[in-house]
């Protein structure tokens, strides 16, 4: 009786391993925010079968306001994450050895907007006024900007009063803040809808001011990069993802539809996602996913100057993956 059971168990195990050998490689991607066109490339790559064609079975996990992708990857909940360079460098110093493996977003979409008929006309006018700032890793560019212009951020008549801004444009509409942060592809559209069209806004674009820090990039853990099998998975992943981004850029309507299909909350609207994908296309620029060293250097310097990190980071990015992916 036991003999038969053992034989059956062995047979079953062997059958399972046979299946395992044919199964695609699993990979988990943790997004920086909720399912929206900001991450269209990855959803397109999944839906259009680009990942499957590379032999990958990708699980895309959406993020949200209380989710720090750096924590998720440190806890083993993801293999690769979407993150901003400032936050990734900070995490690296805290003991999470993140390495940038690809940089799809060439330009930064972060902006500060103020009503055109308000008191703020240039950065120096921030003094003595209230500015809405996002935290959770998104505050680094602002503090770097304030630092550069010698503006204090503690409030009072000489400094800037900071409001922890939520993820909408209410503070501007309710006049609770003189200026707020927006992403060109999301909140700016909400401001437009509320009646604050471009001619009614004074816009401080971080890119125009030369203060743009690297935004959406792909990161993995350094120890994992030493494993050639894992590295190969990443190469295939980056290749398929960039293919997804190219498709998304060229077919915004399709991409918006795919994003809506993947949105489990049912809260996204087609028109907003279409707006978002068109703006994101501008941020992607002509990037093939390769990290621009000058942009990295600027980000690293801003983060060091602002004392977000105390030591110059070593090995925070690599071109290995993108080189292999674009071959």
């Amino acid at each position: 009786m036991t003999n038969t059971v053992t034989k059956l168990a062995l047979a079953g195990a062997m059958a399972l391993t046979a299946f395992g050998a044919n199964a695609a490689d699993k990979l988990t991607l943790q997004l920086k925010w909720v399912t929206q066109a900001q991450f269209a490339g990855y959803f397109v790559a999944k839906d259009k079968g680009y990942y499957e064609a590379e032999g990958l079975d990708v699980d895309i996990k959406p993020g949200g306001p209380n989710i720090a992708p750096e924590q998720i990857i440190a806890g083993g909940g993801a293999d690769v994450i979407v993150d901003w360079m400032g936050a990734a460098l900070a995490a690296r110093e805290k003991g999470v050895p993140l390495v940038n493996i690809a940089q799809p977003y060439k330009n930064a979409g972060l902006e500060i907007i103020c009503p055109a008929d308000g008191p703020i006309k240039k950065v120096e006018d921030f003094k003595g006024h209230t500015i809405g700032v996002w935290f959770y890793g998104n505050e680094v560019p602002f503090f770097a900007l304030a630092n550069k212009h010698g503006l204090k951020t503690e409030g009072g008549p000489d400094g800037i009063k900071i409001l922890q801004q939520s993820f909408d444009v209410q503070p501007l509409i309710q006049k609770q803040a003189d200026c707020i942060h927006v992403m060109t592809y999301n909140e700016l559209g909400q401001a437009y809808d509320a009646g604050y069209t471009a001619d009614k806004l004074t816009v401080f674009s971080y890119t125009d001011m030369g203060e743009n820090l690297l935004e959406d990039g792909l990161y993995a853990l350094e120890p994992n990069l030493k494993d050639p099998a894992f590295k190969d998975k990443l190469v295939r992943f980056v290749r398929a993802s960039m293919k997804g981004w190219t498709y998304a850029k060229d077919h915004p309507e399709d991409a918006a539809d795919i994003v809506i299909d993947n949105d489990t909350t049912g809260a996204q609207t087609k028109e907003h996602q279409l707006y978002m994908i068109k703006e994101v296309a501008k941020l992607l620029g002509d990037s093939t996913g390769v990290l621009d060293e000058a942009a990295y250097a600027r980000t690293e310097k801003a983060v060091l100057d602002q004392k977000i990190i105390t030591k110059k980071p070593e090995g925070a990015w690599t071109h290995d993956i993108t080189d292999a992916a674009l071959k």
């Binding site: 209380n66 924590q71 998720i72 806890g75 083993g76 509320a194 909350t265 049912g266």
Partner: protein
């Protein structure tokens, strides 16, 4: 003495109060949305007649205070107007939240009752645990929830259970507090009587303490189930706000869709009210089975 009638005694008062609130609400919406309407008109260069401005307060896309009919319309659209399995349906999201709530509530109640029994019977547990149980509730769960979920995912527990555990964490406290008070509520004279019967702790528990604590238990259960719902909603946030009423609430607030927020809020509150009602009915059933008589209308 007039016969008690369900309609006159329960339905009419509630309806009257609701009607009064609805009227007040429309008036409030008028005033609160007025500035938004005026600002919008200025921005878009539109001219509104004064009365049209007032009417527009009740028809804004993203009002500060949505008018009741807007909320009802949104609720109807997302429940009856959609297939139950659609990702936009509030019924679907409500079910996701409800499953985590019920599991967490069950675990929390069980845990709370066991803890209370231990505290009442074992002095050591009473002295060492009670202060820490109280302190545990002061830890803001919304802050700990993301860390908790990350840690649980790291050991392989994901999906329903982490959210349910947050509900458990929140709901066990009212149960413990209520049950401890309830298990200790029998009068000294009754406990002395049990002593004269040579009853051991177990008999005292089953025959005296437990029956005496039932009213306290149900009061705590009502609080507990509402809190479990809130815990389930809170638990949805760190999991990427993928599904559930909490996810709906949050995504509504990202995109400034105030009507969506209010609709989800009402759906959650309605669900909680329903759950508390169910607990109330089971309380009456249990009390009747235990032989309690409905109290005569007090003078």
């Amino acid at each position: 003495m007039t016969k008690p009638s369900f309609f006159r005694d329960s339905v009419v008062p509630v309806l009257t109060v609701i009607a009064a609130i609805v009227v007040l609400w429309y008036v409030a919406a008028l005033f609160m949305n007025h500035s938004t309407v005026v600002a919008e008109a200025q921005l878009k260069g539109l001219a509104f007649t004064p009365s049209a401005t007032w009417y527009r307060s009740w028809a804004l896309d993203k009002p500060l205070l949505p008018a009741p009919h807007q909320i009802v319309a949104e609720l109807w659209r997302s429940t009856a107007g959609l297939a139950i399995t659609s990702k936009r349906s509030l019924v679907y999201h409500g079910w996701v939240t409800l499953s985590a709530t019920l599991l967490g509530f069950l675990l929390g109640t069980l845990f709370g009752i066991l803890l209370a029994i231990g505290i009442v019977h074992q002095k050591v547990m009473d002295k060492s645990l009670m202060p820490w149980i109280i302190a545990s509730q002061t830890v803001p769960i919304l802050a700990v929830a993301p860390m908790l979920i990350v840690v649980l995912n790291a050991i392989g527990i994901s999906g329903l259970l982490p959210k349910a555990l947050i509900s458990t964490y929140l709901s066990f406290f009212p149960v413990v507090v209520g049950m401890v008070k309830g298990l200790r509520s029998p009068e000294a004279i009754h406990l002395d009587l049990m002593r004269t019967y040579n009853a051991d702790d177990f008999k005292v528990f089953t025959k005296l303490r437990w029956p005496a604590s039932v009213p306290y238990l149900f009061a705590s259960l009502k609080v507990g189930i509402a809190i479990s719902l809130i815990g389930a909603i809170v638990g949805e946030l760190p999991t990427g706000a993928a599904a559930g009423l909490g996810a709906r609430l949050l995504s509504g607030s990202y995109y400034g869709q105030t009507i969506q927020i209010w609709a989800a809020l009402f759906a959650a509150a309605f669900l909680a009210g329903l759950l508390v009602l169910v607990v109330g009915w089971s309380e009456r059933l249990v009390m009747r089975l235990m032989g309690a008589r409905p109290e005569r209308r007090a003078a």
